[in-house]
Structures are given as C-alpha cells and as structure tokens.
C-alpha cells in the first residue's frame, strides 16, 4: 500500500494542472492515469478533431502555447503533445497504465485501488474528465439489426463506415462536424437536430473565443448564474476549429445536401420518429446566438476595443418547409447511426455516497466532500471550467483548499 497526501485521478489537462498547482505548494501527490498522458486526446477522439478554441487559449498553470500560429487550432494529437510537454516541464509525478478500480473511504482519508496496487491519501482529486462516456438515449436499444452504431468516442473517420445512408443524431459541435465530413465522403446524411446553439466563428473581425474571453463570458462564476443546473447542461456551440467558414450550422449542412430533421423522439417498430418542433428549435438557436452577439456589442460599446468592425447580424436558420417526421430504419437506406448526443464523466469506480437521484456527482464548485474534489466538469466554478484554458484557475483554487485540508488534518 503506497501513501501520499493527494491522489489525482487522470493525467489529462485537469490532472496535470492540479499536479502543477500542488507542486507549486509543495504538496506531495501522485497522478494516476489508466493509459498514457493525455490518453483520451490520443485514443478516444475522431481523426479530424481540432480544438474549438484557438492555440493562444491553451493556457495552463505555468505553461502556454509558444508556437508561431496563435490563431490556429490544435489537432487532437497536437493537444496530446502539448500536454506531454506540460507534464515533462512540470515533472508531474504521473503513474501511467494505472487504472483506478475503486475509491473508498479510509480512516486516513481515502483508499484508491488500481491495476497496479493500492494508494492511501488524505485527499483525492477526480480529474478523469467530463467526456469519458457517450450519452445515448434509452430507445437506442430499439435500433433494428444491421445498423451500425457509433458515438463521438469510437467514431474515427468516414472510411470505417459501410456504404449507405447515415443518421447523425445531435447538432452541437460533434454532430455538425461529423455530419459534414461524412457527407463530404459521399454518404447520404440525415442530421437530427434538437436543442443546439448556432454561433459564428468570428464576429466583427475577431474570433468568437476572443469575444468570449474579453467580454468576461468565459469567466462567469457559477454563483452568478440563475439556473446553474440548466447552465451546466448547455451543449457545445456549433463551431469547428477552423477559420475557413463563418458558420458550421444547419444552413451550411443543408447547402451541402444534408437532410435536416427534428429531434429524434423514439424508435418504434424500426422507424425513427422525429419531433415536429424543428422550426422552434431553430428559432431558439437563432435567439440564443443573437443574445450572445448583443452581449458582445454591449461590452464593445463600453470598452471600445481596437480594430473591430461594425456590428452585424446574420440571416436566420433556413428551416425546411415540411421536415420529415419519420425515417424507416429497416429498409436498408440507413446503414449507420452516429450518436452525437452528449458526453458525461465516468465515476463508476467512486464508491462513496456522493451522487444524486439521477447518478450525477453532487458538488459545490468542485468540492464533493472534505478531502474529495472534482475538476474539469462543465461550469463547475466558472463557465470555462471544462475548457482547457479554464481548468487552471479551478485547479489553483482547489489546491489552496487541499492545502488547508492537509493543515487541518496535521493540526
């Protein structure tokens, strides 16, 4: 049984940021990683994935992007390399190929059983990521035989798909990206769109992430938000990590020949049934986008930043006059379904009573229980808590708490 003060679970950006903050405070710790550093970036993302945030927005405690393309977007492998460099420069104490099997309470704090022996520590940081498991609706079980099913975690590229029609379910960042590349590869593609948020890549000449950062939107604190539960469920904007197109939205996909349908409501007797409310989902998306642009304009009015163009607004999402409400899945037209219906963390190895009625982790801005903390969850402390550029501030705040916790135990 090995002992340390703090056990950090996960060596992605969250775990490595926490490790750096703990090292800066001289706190003994270990980072347990089931694969290699930045495993999820290397091995559990699709080939063409790029960050939605530009390179300059890849800041971690004591580390930043120093290349010569600050406005470019990192591929998944570039992110993995960035994090491996970070771990090396931080001399992070990472134990690779050490999967956690259970976390339980111990008289000394917590006991962590792994593939390679047990650890005991007075505090634990859950940094295993917000996207470990793909969320798939229950009615997926009714999918007819002969249709291949993929999620954003196991899909890699259009080359792995059988010839034939593809139904992509979900129109946030994952859904629009996969629908576009699968369509470009020559497949017939249907995209089922429920709630989604349209956003331009750039506005008044500046990248949208520059606006989100400068106008303080990414730094909005959890305690400042009216309906935090709803805010934590907000899906990713319809963006892609490329400046080539202004919009990666339903209009663009429709122009490329993707058939847009409403939210997948049910699969009944081998038929996919879509909501008849697509027009309203599109109207709500346009309203959200315009409210965001209003916020940008109001900030620019107050601060008069240099080098921005005049305000503008964009034409609405063009909704088909009569979108189909059903699609036969048994006739052979559809060969593949891609679930782009969201992700969630995996805490199945956390054997403590810290979950709510629906299996969600209960926490107050990352504080789960005395000595037990989470990192990298959506809007955990601030709006950018789940983003690479946002996890550092949360890690620093929690490291201070971990230090206080350790002092209390020692006293």
């Amino acid at each position: 049984m090995k002992r340390t003060d703090t056990i950090v679970i996960g060596a992605g950006q969250a775990g490595l940021a926490m490790s750096r903050c703990l090292s800066d405070r001289g706190i003994r710790h270990v980072v347990l990683e089931r694969g290699a550093i930045a495993q999820a970036w290397s091995a559990r993302r699709w080939d063409s994935l790029k960050l939605l945030t530009p390179n300059w927005q890849s800041r971690l405690p004591g580390f930043a992007y120093t290349g010569n393309d600050p406005d470019g977007f990192m591929s998944k492998d570039a992110v993995a390399a960035h994090l491996r460099r970070y771990a090396a420069t931080s001399s992070a104490p990472v134990e690779e190929r050490t999967g956690v099997r259970s976390v339980t309470a111990d008289h000394a704090g917590f006991r962590v059983e792994t593939d390679r022996g047990g650890w005991v520590g007075s505090s634990v940081v859950l940094a295993s990521g917000a996207c470990s498991v793909a969320t798939v609706p229950g009615f997926a079980a009714g999918l007819p035989e002969g249709i291949a099913s993929h999620t954003g975690l196991d899909y890699r590229n259009p080359g792995q798909l059988s010839p034939g029609g593809v139904l992509v379910v979900g129109a946030s960042a994952t859904g629009v990206q996969l629908a576009a590349e699968i369509r470009a590869a020559g497949h017939e593609v249907f995209l089922s769109a429920g709630e989604h948020i349209r956003a331009p890549r750039s506005y008044r000449g500046k990248d949208i992430q520059w606006w989100m950062d400068s106008a303080g939107i990414l730094a909005t604190k959890a305690r400042e938000v009216d309906d935090l539960e709803r805010a934590r469920r907000v899906p990713s904007l319809q963006l892609v990590g490329s400046a080539r197109r202004m919009f990666f939205d339903l209009n663009m996909l429709a122009e490329g020949g993707v058939e847009i349908v409403g939210r997948l409501s049910a699969i009944r007797d081998g038929t996919a049934l879509f909501s008849g409310g697509l027009a309203n989902h599109c109207a709500l998306s346009d309203l959200k986008m315009n409210r965001l642009l209003d916020t940008f304009d109001a900030w620019a009015e107050r601060r008069s930043p240099e080098g921005i163009a005049q305000p503008e607004r964009f034409g609405p999402t063009r909704v088909p006059a009569a979108p189909r409400v059903s699609l036969d899945l048994t006739g052979g037209r559809i060969r593949t379904i891609i679930w782009a219906t969201g992700f969630r963390p995996d805490f199945s190895w956390l054997h403590l009573p810290v979950f709510d009625r629906k299996g969600g982790l209960i926490h107050q801005e990352g504080r789960v229980a005395p000595g037990l903390y989470a990192l990298g969850l959506p809007f955990m402390r601030r709006r950018n808590s789940a983003l690479l550029d946002g996890v550092g501030a949360d890690a620093a705040a929690l490291a201070a708490e971990i230090e206080r916790h350790g002092s209390r135990l020692a006293a």
Partner: protein, 188 residues
Amino acid sequence: MHTNTMSQAVSNGVNTEALIGARGAFEHMPEAAAFTFRSVCDWKEGTHNSNAINGYFGLGQNHERKQTFRIDSDHPEVFAAADRAPTPPEIVLAALASCLTGGVAAVAQHRGIQLRSVQATVEGEIDVRGILGMDPDIRNGFSAIRVSFDIDADATDDEIRALVAQSQKRSAVFDILTNPTNVNVTVV
C-alpha cells in the same frame, strides 16, 4: 418600446411567484408533481358526444372542482351530421392555441413584459381520405399545423418572438403533438 422599471409592476394576471414556489416544493417531493388529468365522454347521438371534465389527481391526492366543465363534439353538415359542436380535431387545435397563449402570458409575466393583446390563429391541414381509409399513404391526422400569433405588448419584436419561442419550448400540448405519445385504449 420596452420599459421594465422596478416601480412599474407588470401584470398579465399570471402568478409566477406561485409557480416558482411550486418548483421548490417539487425538488424535494417529486412524487407531488405527478398529475393525472381525465375526461369522461358520453355518447349522445350520432357523432355528437359530451365530455365532462372535473376530477384530477395531483400533489398526492384527488381533487374535485366546484364546477364540472363540458366540452361537446360533433361532425359538421358537410359530413352529413348535425353540427352541434366542434369536431375533435378542431378541439385539438384549440388546445394547442390555448396552451401556447397561456404560455406566452406566463413567460411575459416572468420576463416583466406587459401584454396588451394576444391572438393566436391555428390551422391544421387534413386530407379526409385518410379517415375514410381510402389510401394507406394518407394519414388520419393533420399533415401540418400552423399557428400565427398577433401580439401587442410593451416589448421589441425580438422580445415578442422570444416569448413565443419559449412558450413552445415549455408547452404540454406542443409536446403532445410534436412528439410520439403512448395511447392505450382498453375495454372493460
């Protein structure tokens, strides 16, 4: 022009404080949020029948109202009937218009927008060969439903559009019509 000063209370007649209070109660007792609504329909003659709506279950118990509401239904003259009351599909359209209109009032109250008038016109397209069983490719029900809102309020056009969008988002009847719903019919 939209003004929303603290000194000028907006009144559309919706008690949003009560709704927000209810949310708090349901967080702690979700069972209390399980409601059952019902209607008892008695055949009169021909295609004329009459619904009596009174008792419902909710907040953990049965409720009986002070008065029983009635909704009658019939078929029109062009269907060779006596036209004593609206057709069931028309009542469904009315239900949608009512649910959305009520929702607009509630959302407007919550957002501090004073309404002056709201009128919803709803239309449903139906090929009656469907209900006559003449063609399996023609459905029994509406192939399309359109709702048009005419709203006069103390708000911008965008704010009014947002009211209508939010009303749909939280409407029971909009959901019932746009998403599949299990309907189980038995005989005693």
